[in-house]
Symmetry: D2
Subunit: 411 residues, 4 copies
């Protein structure tokens, strides 16, 4: 469905070649200063035409706020917004009349709806993500102002070009021998430092959005190779969310990582999600993988390591939340493909159009947006519980070990 969230609710509409794409953001806290410019920043990071690595279409993607703010401040009422579709060249796409594009959404949309847009995959268009990015920009403005929360995503691999082990997320560190539990299973300190300090400015210095110069250069070559071959290549995006309070996530079905994974896997072309140690965490023995507690400078408990990725028992623990998403190689390629027509007739679907050979650099702001929306919604729910509990008389009948000291109760 086209609505996400329980209290911070984002509903989007629109596809490639209709009048506009847009969103309604319902449940935004009142009193937040927000303008089109706040939103435009992320929309511009998302749009095509930013570098020679992406499609040459230059869509301006200007956002128009319709409602929900007055004099630049949110009223608490739904925020309507839209971006007009300027590039509506349906004639480029005539080939789809006969062939469903392999691994694209043409076929499944027709199966699902019994009808399809002339452009093919309808809402599977990348333009659908505009509404998400706009909504995410509003959420993260709030999160920054109210909690100091920072969200930064970056490209961690393109094809087989990965960040080097020393600075890579856990799953990308080589496993070592299967009988040797000790070897190479340390959580990279350099990686922990990277996610603690990385900024969007740093990320945007690289057209690949991989903030490691040497790796970025190799990624660039890899993308150019794909482009020259009229082919495409996938990659992974790693994202960190810093300064999230402990206590977010709603067991048992809406655990933090479950809703985060849901949000990420709803982004077009995603096929994989892992949080913290992810798949790697299945290989590291519990004695090593457990994050020991330690008293932090602020008096709260922290952990010495962070294999958990900031989430334990489905609830945030105050540590950095990091996760990684896999984007498959784009289905739309310019070279001819042997496949079948809708009626089953075999044939070659010929080259056409201009498309991104690699989408992960442009996926970065989309990942950040969805992360912001998830945190926002979870915060509002936990806010409610904390406030409600704080209004009750103190509990006197329980042993102290069952009750949190009052002082630490604030969200």
């Amino acid at each position: 469905m086209s609505t996400y969230g329980k209290l911070f609710r984002v509903t989007t509409y629109g596809e490639s070649h209709c009048a506009s794409v847009g969103a309604i953001i319902d449940g935004c806290p009142p009193g937040l200063e927000i303008t089109a410019a706040d939103i435009q920043v992320q929309l511009s990071r998302r749009r095509p035409g930013q570098s020679n690595l992406t499609t040459p279409r230059d869509e301006k993607d200007l956002v128009h706020l319709q409602s929900g703010t007055e004099r630049g401040v949110t009223l608490g009422t739904p925020i309507g917004l839209l971006v007009k579709n300027e590039d509506q060249r349906p004639h480029d796409y005539s080939e789809t009349d006969l062939y469903p594009r392999p691994s694209h959404a043409d076929y499944t949309y027709l199966e699902k709806y019994g009808i399809k847009a002339s452009s093919g995959g309808g809402r599977s268009s990348a333009r659908e993500t505009i509404g998400r990015v706009a909504a995410g920009a509003i959420a993260e403005k709030y999160l920054k102002l109210a909690y100091g929360i920072e969200i930064v995503a970056f490209v961690s691999s393109v094809g087989k070009i990965h960040l080097p082990s020393s600075v890579a997320p856990p799953s990308l560190v080589a496993s070592g021998d299967e009988d040797d539990d000790e070897a190479q299973d340390a959580l990279s300190e350099e990686f922990r430092h990277l996610i603690k300090t990385i900024t969007r400015e740093e990320v945007d210095k690289f057209s690949t959005r991989c903030p490691h110069p040497e790796t970025s250069e190799r990624m660039t070559q890899r993308i150019i190779r794909a482009k020259d071959a009229q082919d495409s290549i996938g990659g992974t995006v790693t994202c960190v969310i810093r300064n999230v309070p402990s206590g977010l996530g709603e067991p048992v079905f809406d655990k933090f990582e479950a809703t985060l994974g849901h949000a990420m896997l709803s982004i077009p072309a995603t096929k994989a999600f892992e949080i913290g140690s992810g798949f790697k965490g299945t290989e590291v023995p519990g004695s090593k993988h457990n994050d020991a507690f330690v008293r932090r400078a602020d008096g709260k408990l922290g952990t010495t390591t962070n294999w958990s990725g900031g989430v334990q028992g489905g609830i945030t623990n105050g540590e950095d939340i990091y996760f990684r998403i896999g984007f498959k190689s784009p289905a739309t390629i310019s070279q001819g493909q042997q496949t079948a027509q809708y009626d089953g007739t075999p044939g070659e679907l010929a080259a056409r159009g201009r498309h991104d050979p690699c989408v992960v650099p442009r996926a970065v702001p989309i990942v950040e947006a969805m992360a912001a929306i998830v945190v926002m919604d979870q915060l509002l729910i936990q806010n409610s519980r904390k406030t409600a509990a704080s209004l009750l008389p103190p509990i006197t009948t329980l042993p102290p070990s069952m009750v949190q000291p009052k002082s630490s109760k604030a969200v």
Copy 2:
């Protein structure tokens, strides 16, 4: 929150040491023959004490149906069910009075609720999954009868012991050199055969639930090694869903893989999810990764390969749906751990209790249950759309290429 689903809704309650755990299943189709025995099969596959690889606690976990059926047939009204808690030994857990168990949910539950159960992590208990498994058993009975849908999960790795490359899911196949797109990137035919044919009976021949004798034996040794070391080890579960009709999944936020990932990542101890080619699919160029269409024997379109894992554009395409979930090494271990008390005092949390050194064999029916629940809910939603669309007059104003032939419209 403790409810999952939009039309097929599962709400669960209960933790380790309360009177019972249970569930309400709302929205089950009427007229389905279902008895406690149908449910008990999967509950018994889930419960501890099944082999020397799991905890020696022998809980009988008998399900009691409370409502929603009469003479063994569902009425369409909510099905209440419960399993009594027999093993309520709270005194084993006194150590938790001082120490939050590392990487367990003790700390985060206290942070979230300001109060915690004396047993510690409350709903993070594995007993919480009983309600899921019961609900899943009902869903899969329906899916089997109405659609011939089959769901089979199995253990694909324990620690660093993986199924061999020849029969492994895509992500477990070695990547080869980064500049060599051609090498080793084929989707294993043996794996495709495995997921097409594997049965629960076959899986249950192995106490590890890994249906590859040699690998299973090595996994057994690995688990025993963890047990002997008072340690724990994680693993992955791979699951296939066969015979799912095309058209399931609700873009843009409830794409099939998004809801499936949500459901899987809500299972305790999960940290990673991938569908189809998953992370591997980020490395294989589009020209190779795209699943070419071909006419199937039944006249519908199928694909020659299945990197997509049965889902394209967030919608099922009729091919086998396969996915893999990573379960971290269990946090509860018997060896002592250097950590800190709730108040920050450093110390050693000593050994205690008896716990599974490896949960993945028991996770198999839980994965199957959540898969059944997701498919069931998505089917009901798509059912509704198809039926609604079928009642409209034929569309005469659109070019034929935009419209699916009537004959293929049934769900």
Copy 3:
């Protein structure tokens, strides 16, 4: 919240003086022919300036479809639509800077959000209903084509001017003596005939939208009297939904009348709702109030009377659904009012603006729209259940009396 519905979901945005008001309709069946003209008909019936009984503002309220259709046919994807705000005269409203308008939403919006639009009550503006009416027009196009469902609302009272007893809904028939159960408690046959045959064309012959010439004339005089007195007057709208299949409504919390009541009571200025015999049904003994069953011409069961208003046990029974909604006298009046400022200072809020002295004629299409949205959503849910149940093997283990014959299973 600003979203209504589970499968047919309507999300609206916008207030009086922002750029536009609009809606996203998600979950509309694909393959429905729908154009702006279909929607415009009801928007034009809703807009001000239609007669001398309403406000002289003449807003054109032209709808602009943004997405979700192609060549006039729905794609099954979200339909975005908007109506620009042309009449943005904020300077008329300067008085609200000091005074919350009595019984208006100025005060409560400020209490709720801590901030308010300069125009006052924000989303309590009548312009908010534009999105509802547009969504309802789409729903009722579907309902008409797929089921022959007809929805007609009309004005049944203005102030104390009611339809005469002979043709009035049950609650408006005089009760007689309290000890005389027999007297005057018959359900008016003339009323049953009226709701069986009334059309929008008939209703629109009267500027009051009360299709009883003599009563309409008296209502007109009553409204003019209110207008001349710079006062306002309320009224009731009665609505009938014909040809709704039996089986709609989702016990126990989403019974048909519960969701219908919810929808109606969300329309601005509503304070009361009753279905079928309503409050009157509390006075008529069960022996008389019970609707006896009888075989209809089509072989299905019908009822001889229809005190139930087409709903029994929260589920539609195939009879005409009729209900009545009370709209309070509008809060916005032109005469001065003794009241207090936001800070509590007493004073007189002086006259200003031009406003409808009576809103019920314009409320008619809004009531129809919300009725269409409710029926649509409930139909889609019940569709899903019926289709799901129809795919199961026949039940052989139950006594025939517990099972409905197959032939009558279609929705």
Copy 4:
């Protein structure tokens, strides 16, 4: 569906003759002292056998808490609870094998589900309300402790026996001549006093639960007359909610009165709902109906009258919330009825069973329970918004008239 609420979520199961009826309450604030005894009070007020006016069945209805509390304190996790069905006499109901009971749910359940319980109307049984009452008791314990909120319902009419005009809700006050706006349209001061002071203890002094001795006596006679005639009679329940903070209700679709009406109209046998002046408010001119503001003793704004019933623009304003619900005369009567069998054959459905001739006295705690659940859910949502807004920097760019002073921001 069988779940109500967004943050405070109540899911119920069970019908007349299954093993038990029960509920899961999800989202209850942690740290609330609650025991079975707190719940039992209201269950006992609901159960049959309390006086000679109700059915002689004496069900004990003892509640068993299953989860979610420890040592009498809520953990914040789902509260499972159940009440066993003791009275399971299915043989009393053999007549339903042939005849759908007129105006009961037998027919519509069969139409909806294609199958029905042998007892007939399945979840339309009054026993279904046990889960609601238990959940409501938990909610109102919280509301009382945290906000001092008080909820009291009472019977305001039985058949044509109403509270006298001087003390009746607005709709029950005679209207006077249609051209005379001035006559008899005052809001009864005695009624305002009644709802400000009425207690459950006062209400329970009367077996009718009508707290007006003379009227109660006449109601008793009316019920006995119905009983003697093997007939039934309906009535209305009026309810007041005191001390609700301003700001509750979620425009535009979940206005306070819309969700309240939804909840009330989901109670079995309800056909009508009105809040504040209700249908009467349609007859009183705006100039008289508007509630003028006045500074209250605590410095906040109050209103001199309360035609609005505590809700303006769909949002609570801090005044007493009062509303009235109409319960139709019970469909189940002991006298024979001319009707038709399921197959259309006409005949007489003969007398059987023992049933309440009038349900409104027992409906009182059900109305209170649903009111508590609605207020609880709305409070949690508004709590969240207020807390979120309070964490933002002060707004400096808006004119003071648009912003609420900080001091009054607490919920």
